[in-house]
Amino acid sequence: MNITAPTFEWLELAPVLIVLTAAILGVVIEAAVPRAYRLVSQVGLMVVSLVAALAVLVENFVSQRSGTLVSASMVLDGPAYLAWAALLVFGLLSMLLFAERRLGNGSTAFAASAAAVPGSVSESEAAVAQHEHTEVFPLALFSLSGMLVFAAANDLLTAFVALEVMSLPLYLLSAMARRRRLLSQEAALKYFLLGALSSAFFLFGIALVYGYAGSFGFRDIATSIGAPVYGDGLLLTGMGFLAIGLLFKIGAVPFHNWVPDVYVGAPSPVTGFMAICTKFAAVMAVVRVFYVALGAERWSWQPLIAAIAVLTMVVGVVIAVAQTDIKRLLAYSSISHAGFILVAVVGASVGTAAGASSSLASIVFYLVAYGFATVASFAAVTMVRDAAGEVHSITGWSGLARRNPFLASVVALAMLSFAGIPLTGGFIGKWAVFTAAWRGGYSWLVAVAIVASVVAAYVYFKVIIAMFFGEPVAGVEVGKASGFTLVPLVVGAAATLYLGLFPGQLLDLATAVGTFLR
């Protein structure tokens, strides 16, 4: 038995390698650079590396480099290009929020010393000495590199390792909030235990599918379907386990219980990072596993995913109606968005020459529109404050438009986009997703989705009405933010509007390159 050494496509892999190298350099900075200069060097390194990775990615795209990488364990195709570009942009925007110090009177949103017991002497000593955890940048970069690999994985083992590289730093990041530290630690524990459970399910699914196909590669799995050695039961069970692991990561019902708790407990910048980047990478992995590896078996998984899509939309929307906490509301909103995305996944429609977009193109557009609105809304969440820190109750947000009309308008724009109101990116995203499902023959699912999005609109309008027509609450202020918060806020709002007014470019691009390389 021979094991051939893998080939290494350095140039194609460069975006991932740059992010990974920057993460390792970030660890070196922690050891070598004096405390006073760490934040500035970490932020500089992060921005430079992500922009460089994006530049290399664009260069690769212009030179039309594509194909399988590292002995077919990864693949660089149109969807991978789209996912990488989006992950790098959203990663950069949400990591800028990590660096905000002006809002917290000179301290970041992260604990001065995460290892110190809350309320202890060592905690207050660390706070007085103005220590801060600049390790959050390398942690987030490690997580981002895992996401990049996850979105481009072409075999199940790579997908599993990437899933863990993506998740493990996130568990730690969620435990590091400066305020409400008990909640933060509890969120991390829940996230970790449930996350580890779901990856164990994912791994067992991998083992069963490997038994069925005799290989981890997506292409080998696809060709083995229909010619089983041990019977179809192995494939169907394995597929179910894989689905559990993946659907957990995108926060689909009934695997959604961690989402609201972790969103509330984690520091808001980290929540923003998770809400966009984790979801993006996980959805791309779902699509790749189900379309490329299990595409021939889609009559078996379509009804299952359709049922989960209905549950996810309905539960996400109905529970969101009852929320009084803005972060919890955004959590249930992100659950219901996962449901809308699954609607398009179920449709599994391929693009036509007449310019009708495929399921994949509509999913990418939806995620990009959702991502920009999410960046803007989490930047806003970090800015609304009182003496005890961020104000999360929606009643605390009432009358915000009188204190700061600009911020209230940005939040309103993001909410309108979440609700799918015309002239915002969210509307085009919903439209594209619903047509993809419709043309895939799932008109009943589209009907359910439309009802769900109407109910969801109520939730978002509740926030808008509170901000514009409520009485201002005493003590709640809009903090003076530095560019680290204002840039994501403005970029998110501008892009949301742009995608609503001129959706053609991104949709055409996504349709043009949106085919998987098998």
């Binding site: 524990l189 791994l203 067992f204 490997y210």
Partner: protein, 99 residues
């Protein structure tokens, strides 16, 4: 070689692990149960690798072991932090976040 019996054993271990995570209240025991589930998957992969006559499954177990070790580092650090805060590792005591 038929992998059937190994597969039954793997499924039994996996079921025990799942039950452990769901039912036990101690975070450490729940975490040990997750490790049991990962090793059940390892056993299934080795059995299939042997039955199929290729090395992929055996190589995969090494990756899984490394990932599991990394998971232990992260998991124990979180559990120990919680323990130092609350003097308890019971997942029932962690109830500040409501549905």
């Amino acid at each position: 070689m038929s992998p059937d019996n190994y597969l039954y054993l793997a499924a039994a271990l996996f079921a025990i692990g799942t039950a452990g995570v769901m039912l036990r209240r101690n975070a450490l025991v729940a975490f040990m149960s997750v490790e049991l589930m990962l090793n059940a998957a390892n056993l299934a992969m080795v059995a299939f690798a042997s039955a199929r006559g290729n090395l992929d499954g055996q190589v995969a177990t090494f990756f899984v072991m490394v990932v599991a070790a990394a998971e232990v580092v992260v998991g124990l650090s979180i559990i120990i932090t919680i323990y130092r805060t609350r003097r308890s590792t019971s997942v029932d005591a962690a109830n500040l976040l409501k549905l």
